[in-house]
């Protein structure tokens, strides 16, 4: 086909291909970016805390006693942030208490931190589910901010050395709790946090 055609015409015929390539090169990355944006949950905040030392805190429990993280060093700590108005917290409440009944005589401590709640509602919640493990209110929200809490229930598993081994956003089942407590006890740090049904805090 390319007989007696002058070189100028040749380039003008090659132009469209080049133009298509350039257009695609511009548009495809943009579409990719759009797809990436669509495919992620804009609310989800990945925690930087896994594998780090758990922030210290002191909590006043509902029965008036005080407990701090230092008091339980050497034990595996299951730290659960909850509120009475959060449906997924209700969903997991029974399982948490069931696990506590199983592990309370071992070196595992379950600790509940009630956030953004009234004392009355929180106590009613504890009564409703017969919760017996230590629970306290984080009035100023400082403990919650220290742990980067944004959606509850949010649970941290802390190994006997005080290191966060796993974090789970959303309600937990007793099987997973037991498994993760066991990992925490042995100091195994999970690579990723877990996700379930959660309720953004207020």
């Amino acid at each position: 086909m390319r007989f007696e055609r002058d070189p100028k015409l040749d380039t003008s015929l090659n132009m469209p291909w080049r133009r298509v390539m350039i257009t695609l090169a511009v548009i495809l990355p943009l579409i990719g970016l759009l797809a990436y944006g669509f495919s992620r949950d804009p609310r989800y905040i990945n925690t930087p805390l896994i594998g780090r030392q758990a922030p210290p805190f002191t909590l006043t429990l509902f029965d008036g006693k005080k407990i701090s993280l230092d008091d339980v060093t050497g034990k595996t700590v299951f730290l659960n942030f909850w509120a009475s108005w959060c449906p997924p917290c209700r969903a997991e409440a029974r399982d948490l208490e069931a696990v506590w009944q199983k592990v309370k005589d071992s070196d595992v401590v379950l600790l509940g931190v009630d956030i953004q709640d009234t004392e009355e509602d929180a106590l009613a919640f504890l009564r409703e589910f017969n919760i017996t493990y230590p629970n306290g209110r984080d009035l100023s929200g400082k403990v919650a901010v220290d742990y980067g809490v944004w959606g509850i229930p949010e649970t941290f598993f802390i190994d006997p050395q005080g290191r966060i081994t796993y974090k789970h956003v959303g309600s937990l089942g007793s099987a997973l709790i037991t498994a993760k407590i066991d990992e925490a006890r042995r100091g195994i740090v999970s690579a990723k946090e877990g996700k379930g049904t959660y309720q953004p805090i207020r």
Partner: protein, 579 residues
């Protein structure tokens, strides 16, 4: 600010009134300075918070958000400022807790660098594109002018315009498809008009010459193009036989250009179509109505988020009680309740069983399940269901009521039943229903005095108290009901929605029909009808109580509620939905 002000006054003071005034002024400014300090601190908090994202909001800074968490964050910032931390340290603290995400202006590193660079790249690319396009326009025009430097063609244009050719061309243009010929006609007409304007004195001679040159050049270019693309046209052939040679060897590329243009159009069309389809599919699949204030409109299909959080697809299997599920439970509960009230037992059982599959400890479902089971005579299963309900909520009235009645009537365990009823009375507001419970409590005491067995037996067949009446068809119902039809006469404790106390079932009724609603029709075996009840009737056309067709005939006693023992409780049936 205040310090500066202070200083100025200080200078003034020294000159004028000396130290006394200075002292006075200092007193005056002292509280102001303190206030300034707190304002300063608040401003500092605000400034830091403005750089932090509120974790529970969408695109709001911790300074702007009214959320509780944002308030708490501001509290933490204030506290840390008072401790003497710098804004950078405080921001670093939040980054260490929530990650880089928490910064509204992410540090230009790694992937976040894109956010900083991309806008500038886009602007740069835009400028380059515009420059490119403008340059091409200019280039094209130059080429056009270059092409017109054929004096022969210009001469021809002048000749043809002078000869009045444009008119002829204009006439021809009517049936000529070629845009080039039309263009030629337009240019010729313009030239003619220009000449006319010039002669009328509307144009200066320099302007005229310039415009004329321009138009002539364009017309010449058109002529040249015409000569090459349409060599067969007689007009062109006659006037420009010279250009024909050039035309033949330009023909092939010209055709290729045309096919290329078509191809480009088709490709563009296909791309637009695909883009539209993709957008349509993605949007419809990923958008949903907001279920609550905290809900997102995106989710499900793309992100796997359920309403208000991450849903089943990304969660751990088997431990969800997601918001969507709880919504299902609410609707299932409503279904079950209405099926229960209509005595459509299989439908009620199905609904409550579904709820219990999702949440085995659901109080209301367990309670209703107990009632259904008790009604079917499964005393032990019913008791187990009530116990499950009471284990979750020891004060749930329906469960207390059901279990108490079962213990009392079927198990004859008066002591436990009394305990439950007493608790129930304590929970109930004053009213007919509480009186009914208290009455049973009264029965228990007398029953206990007179010996359990006999009392239970007499209660199972209590004498007397019945409701009697006639069920007849309304004037609009002259057709005979089918043989499979079943008539239900129902006594309820309250209105048309309360739980049924007694039901009489008459198969294949012949109207008008007399009925007696007695203790043997009581829903809970052995329980006498007492107090005031609401009496209604329903004729189920197909005899299957689980279906509730539009063809059903219904009726209510006109003077509801009636005291048990009343006679002449006559009911007229009407078609469902008719007044």
């Amino acid at each position: 600010m205040t310090r500066n002000l202070d200083f100025r006054f200080w200078i003034l003071d020294l000159r004028k009134n000396g130290f006394a005034f200075l002292f006075f002024l200092n007193l005056l400014f002292l509280p102001l300075a303190f206030a300034a300090q707190t304002v300063d601190l608040e401003e500092q908090v605000r400034r830091i918070a403005a750089e932090l994202r509120c974790p529970v909001c969408q695109n709001l800074s911790a300074a702007d958000s009214p959320s509780e968490l944002a308030q708490q964050m501001r509290g933490v910032i204030l506290e840390q400022l008072k401790e003497g931390k710098t804004p950078e340290q405080i921001k670093a603290y939040f980054v260490s807790k929530y990650g880089e995400w928490v910064l509204l202006a992410p540090t230009p590193k790694g992937f976040s660098l894109l956010v900083w660079v991309l806008p500038f790249v886009a602007v740069g690319a835009g400028i380059i594109f515009v420059l490119f396009v403008v340059r091409r326009w200019v280039h094209k025009k130059n080429r056009l002018q270059l092409a017109t430097v054929e004096p022969a063609l210009i001469e021809r244009v002048q000749r043809e315009v002078a000869a009045g050719k444009p008119l002829q061309v204009e006439l021809e243009a009517e049936d000529i498809q070629s845009p080039l010929l039309q263009e030629k006609a337009r240019l010729y007409a313009d030239l003619k008009e220009l000449e006319f304007d010039y002669k009328a004195g509307k144009l200066s001679s320099t302007d005229y010459q310039e415009l004329c040159r321009d138009l002539e050049a364009q017309a010449a270019a058109v002529l040249k193009e015409l000569g090459s693309s349409a060599p067969a046209r007689p007009v062109v052939q006659r006037s420009a036989p010279k250009t024909q040679q050039a035309a033949t060897h330009k023909e092939a590329p010209e055709r290729e250009k045309a096919t290329y243009r078509g191809w480009r159009l088709a490709a563009g069309g296909v791309f637009l179509l695909l883009f539209g389809i993709t957008l349509g599919v993605f949007l419809t699949k990923s958008l949903r109505p907001r279920l609550s204030d905290q809900d997102n409109i995106t989710g499900d299909f793309l992100t796997g988020t359920g309403p208000g959080g991450i849903g089943t697809s990304s969660g751990m299997a088997g431990m969800e009680m997601g918001a969507s599920l709880s919504k299902d439970i609410a609707s299932l509960l409503a279904q079950g309740r209405s099926a229960f009230e209509r005595q459509e037992w299989p439908a009620a059982i199905q609904a409550f069983r579904k709820i219990l599959e999702a949440d085995a400890n659901h109080v209301e479902a367990n309670s209703y399940m107990g009632l259904v089971l008790a009604q079917a005579g499964h005393v032990d299963e019913a008791l187990a269901a009530f116990d499950r309900a009471l284990a979750t909520d020891p004060n749930f009235p329906i469960a207390l009521w059901g279990k108490g009645l079962l213990l009392y009537r079927a198990k004859k365990d008066t002591a436990h039943a009394r305990e439950l009823f007493e608790r129930l009375v304590g929970l109930m507001p004053a009213g007919e229903e509480r009186k009914a419970v208290q009455k049973i409590l009264g029965e228990m005491t007398t029953g206990a005095d007179g010996g359990k067995k006999t009392s239970a037996e007499t209660k199972l067949r209590p004498a007397g108290k019945t409701i009697r009446g006639t069920v007849s068809l309304g004037p609009k119902l002259n057709s005979k009901p089918p043989g499979s039809a079943v008539l239900f006469i129902i006594a309820r404790s309250s209105g048309s929605s309360g739980p049924p106390l007694a039901v009489k079932k008459i198969e294949g009724p012949a109207f008008p029909i007399r009925y007696i609603l007695g203790p043997e029709d009581s829903m809970i075996p052995g329980r006498a009808l007492a107090g005031k009840v609401f009496v209604s009737a329903r004729l189920d056309q197909d005899g299957n109580p689980t279906t509730r067709g539009a063809g059903d005939w219904v009726g209510e006693y006109g003077k509801n509620p009636v005291e048990v023992g009343t006679e002449g409780v006559d009911i007229t049936l009407q078609r469902l939905g008719e007044p």
